[in-house]
């Protein structure tokens, strides 16, 4: 189904099932330990051998020699695979570094061997017997040192540099100016299930039960890496223990499980040990950002500039931290620039809201700062500088130039933009009026108390997505699509979509996901999964409705699918009757025209945070949180709210504790476990409130929905940092905001 004109009224608008806060249909399996993750497929792979991955001990250099003798002769060992005996391997187009290193080593903990043994204990012990002689070549590990030599790099969907009007002149002339440097650290996804795969060969056909967000990409990448036909690769990913971008791409667990299984002649399962997750897999790259904002005395932005530096391995990509600055606030004169340094640290890549997450961390502090210079309320400042058209449509410019966008004043409108309403709603709800704009004035016992606010912004992306829908003889509807559920609630919103479209209760819908044998979906990433995958199911359901109508001899345009019946006028026939001669199956997908070129589709929100800062120790604790979001139709308010509170929680982590610490001498992230890389625990998170503004977006899809899961993290950290400033009067511009950055600046104790 081609979606190229704005959606009009359709069966989804009945909202009998869609839009309801239904419990997840997979909930009773997750809560009883019966949902099976990739390492737990005893049901289909009864006797696997165990793989254990060995990571490189240096950041950059070469393996001079391996001593595998002791490992090979260790009890239970079935096979050891290294680059020496793996056969020719290619590299996936989404992988920057090789998934099996050697003899060249590209980063610390790059996989260099997998040991396969009868038991987990034997595989681990044997891997620890491998001796490796390295040539350590050193490398570049310091982003700040690499900034001078950093090169322009294209940001996703746009040029490295963009310019509108004359930024330099306007900034110089602005009566109120802000110019500041900000930094965000490397961050780890730290999802609870480490990457894990069970691999089985049947002749030259490979099946991988693997924890992966993007099944179709994964099939292609596995086939490319192993130099085999795509047709011979099957990926299954029924349950995924969190991803946040770390499982967008095929990682070493899948490739080494496959190679290990081939070498051992046995099914093999392996999971990355937690220590490898931090340096072996991808991470959100650190950034250094410069923001300049010029405003007139009334608070109108006249000039806004945002530059960002990040690093990656040779051939890698930058963090797109400037992305939102092209679209979020008005201002006639603008510039952005993105620079990429070559660093020999592990591979930087997408993590929840790549670009906006780190960009908003900086931008939304800068906005707080200039509002203060203007003696304006930060919400008033944002409302004053709202725009209903995209002020810097760098995508257009990119067609003209690969690196420097030409000045272009765009009239690209947003399909929906309720940023102002988000702030207004939140302001009342949160009690913003009680905030003392003078920092360091509010005390509650031992706590210095402050309020902070920030905008949330993240674009909505349209991607084609297909599904197969079947009416069974017993009247059940079975949906098959390779869409994944990484905790987002895909199972449930897909079931709701099919139930709404086919007029059956949700418990009559069976949803089968995450298998490359099913039609190709949008997959889970970039907050595009919910809208696109359900739109694909919608398309398949429209087709199935037509088949059913034809079978029953009614006009599909006049037929209403409701309460398990197909009704035309007063006549109603049981839906199952259409399948009395056999199940009816329809496959279709959603494909998009250019509505996303005519209208910028984005999601908006406002984050409100109250913090307490211990007056003596400078420990920071979040006391209250509210997010107000405008993100199209909310398909399931319960699961959508969970996405937002989860993102808010991750935002608190980014604000207050998360940092992969770089050892700049040896080139690795030092704190590579969950005690050293702290993420929020229960005690860090208060009750969280989420408000969804009423919105449907007819430009996005027949579902009229947009993404929500990444919107929720954008801006949270800045709202926390702004609240800390309001509490203490100390402005911290280098994340995470920790007590050591405050302690010397707080008033004396006592």
């Amino acid at each position: 189904m081609k979606f190229d004109t704005p959606a009009t009224t359709n069966p989804i608008d009945q909202l009998k099932v869609i839009g309801k806060p239904l419990d997840r249909i997979d909930g009773r399996f997750k809560t009883t330990g019966t949902a099976r993750y990739s390492y737990e497929r005893h049901d289909v792979v009864p006797n696997p051998a165990y793989g254990h991955v060995l990571g490189a001990a240096i950041a950059k250099g070469r393996i001079k020699s391996f001593d595998l003798a002791a490992a090979k002769s260790a009890p239970g060992v079935l096979a050891i695979v290294t680059a020496d005996n793996a056969g020719a391997l290619d590299k996936g187009k989404n992988n920057t570094a090789k998934l099996l290193g050697g003899p060249e080593i590209e980063h610390y903990h790059q996989a260099i061997a997998v040991v396969v043994a009868e038991s987990f204990e034997q595989a681990r012990a044997a891997a620890q017997l491998i001796r490796v002689d390295y040539q350590d070549d050193g490398g570049s590990f310091d982003l700040r040192a690499g900034m001078a030599d950093a090169k322009p790099a294209k940001v996703l969907g746009g040029p490295a540099d963009s310019a509108v009007g004359d930024f330099a002149t306007a900034f110089a002339a602005a009566p109120v100016q802000l110019e500041q440097m900000y930094s965000t650290p490397d961050e780890s996804h730290a999802m609870m299930e480490p990457h894990a795969t069970t691999a089985v060969w049947d002749g030259d056909r490979l099946t991988l039960w693997t924890s992966n967000q993007m099944i179709a990409w994964g099939v292609g990448e596995v086939a490319k890496t192993l130099k085999m036909p795509k047709e011979n690769v099957r990926l299954v990913s029924e349950y995924i223990g969190g991803g946040f971008g770390s499982k967008l791409f095929v990682r070493t667990d899948a490739i080494l499980a496959a190679l290990g299984a081939r070498a051992a002649g046995r099914p093999v399962k392996l999971t990355l040990q937690r220590a490898l997750v931090f340096n072996n897999t991808t991470h959100r790259p650190a950034t250094v950002q410069r923001i300049r904002i010029g405003a007139d005395k009334d608070g109108k932005i006249t000039a806004i500039g945002h530059e960002s530096w990040s690093g990656d391995l040779p051939g890698g990509k930058p963090d797109g931290a400037v992305s939102q600055t092209r679209q979020l606030y008005a201002g006639a004169n603008r510039m952005t620039a993105t620079r990429l340094a070559v660093l020999d640290l592990p591979e930087g890549n997408a993590m929840r809201a790549p670009g906006e997450a780190s960009g908003m961390m900086a931008l939304e502090i800068a906005v707080d700062e200039i509002a203060e210079k203007l003696a304006m309320d930060p919400i008033e400042f944002r409302i004053l500088n709202d725009t209903q058209v995209v002020p810097d449509n760098a995508k257009e410019a990119s067609k003209e130039s690969q690196t420097v966008g030409s000045a272009s004043k765009s009239e690209l409108p947003f399909s929906q933009r309720q940023l102002v309403q988000c702030f207004q709603t939140g302001r009342d709800r949160f009690g913003w009026a009680k905030r003392n704009p003078k920092p360091g004035e509010v005390r509650d016992g031992r706590w210095l108390v402050g309020l902070g606010v920030a905008a949330a912004f993240r674009n909505n992306q349209l991607t084609k997505s297909a599904a197969r829908v079947r009416l069974e003889q017993d009247g059940r509807i079975v949906v098959e699509t390779d869409m994944t559920d990484i905790g987002t609630g895909s199972y449930t919103i897909i079931a709701q979509t099919a139930a709404e479209m086919m007029g059956v209760p949700i418990d009559k819908v069976v949803v089968l996901l995450g298998d490359s044998a099913f039609p190709v979906s949008a997959g889970s990433g970039g907050q595009w999964g919910g809208n696109n995958s359900t739109a694909g199911v919608y398309a398949a359901c429209i087709k199935l409705r037509e088949m059913i109508a034809q079978k029953l001899g009614v006009n599909s345009a006049e037929a209403a699918f409701t309460d398990g019946e197909v009704r035309t006028g007063a006549r109603g026939v049981a839906l199952a009757d259409a399948a009395r001669d056999g199940a009816l199956s329809a496959e279709d997908g959603i494909e998009y025209g250019d509505l996303d070129k005519k209208y910028q589709q984005s999601t908006f929100g406002a984050h409100f945070v109250e913090v307490g800062v211990d007056a003596a120790t400078a420990e920071i604790r979040v006391r209250r949180m509210l997010a107000v979001c405008a993100a199209g139709r909310i398909l399931n308010p319960k699961t959508a709210r969970s996405q937002v509170i989860g993102a808010m929680t991750m935002g608190v982590g980014a604000a207050l504790m998360e940092e992969l610490v770089v050892d700049k001498r040896r080139g690795f992230f030092v704190n590579h476990d969950l005690a050293g890389y702290e993420v929020p625990v229960h005690g860090d998170i208060p009750h969280q409130e989420v408000v969804f503004l009423d919105e449907t977006d007819p430009m996005s899809s027949p579902m009229k929905a947009k993404g929500i899961a990444e919107l929720g993290i954008c801006g949270v950290a800045a709202a926390v940092a702004n609240a800390v400033y309001n509490a203490t009067g100390v402005r911290v511009r280098d994340y995470p905001v920790t007590l050591d950055k405050l302690i010397d600046k707080l008033p004396a104790v006592g």
Binding site: G33, T34, D43, P46, Q122, V681
Partner: protein, 220 residues
């Protein structure tokens, strides 16, 4: 629904798995296998030779006699030998809480405990609390309040929550208990502190707190 777990299947697999485990692998080091569980007489192992030891315990009421590599953690014994994969391995270092099970009424991190240390113990895992068709009240409350997302930390959260409520009933204090000599109450602060050993990277904390509070029968 064919897509989801099937308890009957897993029980059958469990028996197969146990037999397979006994059959596979290497000749046990006879001396240490015999010595395990009795005092004295240990003999140092030749380098690299695995040591097997017998251990018996009950899991969810069912008795198990296992002959395990002494290196096997309680978590791996449950997951790989008994095929009770509800208990999760998130870090294998006691830093995430996903492996939480209840042993002799107390919650522990099963990844930092050797199976052979549990001779005679009664162990309860998430599978023993309830089933998809007959959920424990805590499991049902997690569903109702959406106290999870990806589901990987969930069994640990639930086992921890069930045992945690018992700890409060038993009067055990916590870091945030204001008066050490008073009987602790299940306040919001108490709940969050006591559950802090169970990390949820999806960030379902606010909902988990509501689920537990509902089961405990007091307002959030």
């Amino acid at each position: 629904m064919p897509t989801f777990g099937d308890l009957k299947l897993s029980r059958r697999d469990m028996l197969m798995g146990t037999a397979a485990t006994l059959a596979l692998g290497n000749a046990p080091n006879t001396a240490s296998a015999q010595d395990a569980g009795v005092s004295g007489g240990a003999v140092a192992l030749a380098a690299g030779t695995p040591s097997l030891a017998k251990v018996s315990f009950t899991v969810n009421g069912a008795a198990h006699d296992l002959n395990l590599d002494t290196r096997t953690t309680l978590l791996d014994a449950l997951r790989e030998h008994l095929h009770l994969t509800g208990s999760k391995k998130g870090c294998d270092q006691g830093q995430c809480g996903a492996c939480t099970v209840i042993v002799e009424g107390r919650r522990i991190a099963s990844c930092l405990s050797l199976a052979v240390m549990h001779q005679g113990d009664a162990i309860t895992t998430i599978e023993g609390l309830g089933t998809p068709d007959n959920m424990h009240p805590m499991q049902a409350a997690f569903v109702k309040h959406d106290g999870y997302q990806c589901g990987y930390c969930t069994p640990g959260q639930i086992c921890s929550a069930v045992a945690m409520l018992d700890e409060i009933k038993a009067g055990m204090p916590s870091h945030v208990t204001a008066d050490l000599e008073a009987t602790p109450q299940l306040t919001n602060a108490e709940l969050r502190e006591r559950m802090s050993g169970n990390i949820c990277r999806c960030g379902a904390y606010s909902n988990i707190a509501e689920a537990i509070t509902e089961v405990a029968g007091s307002p959030a």
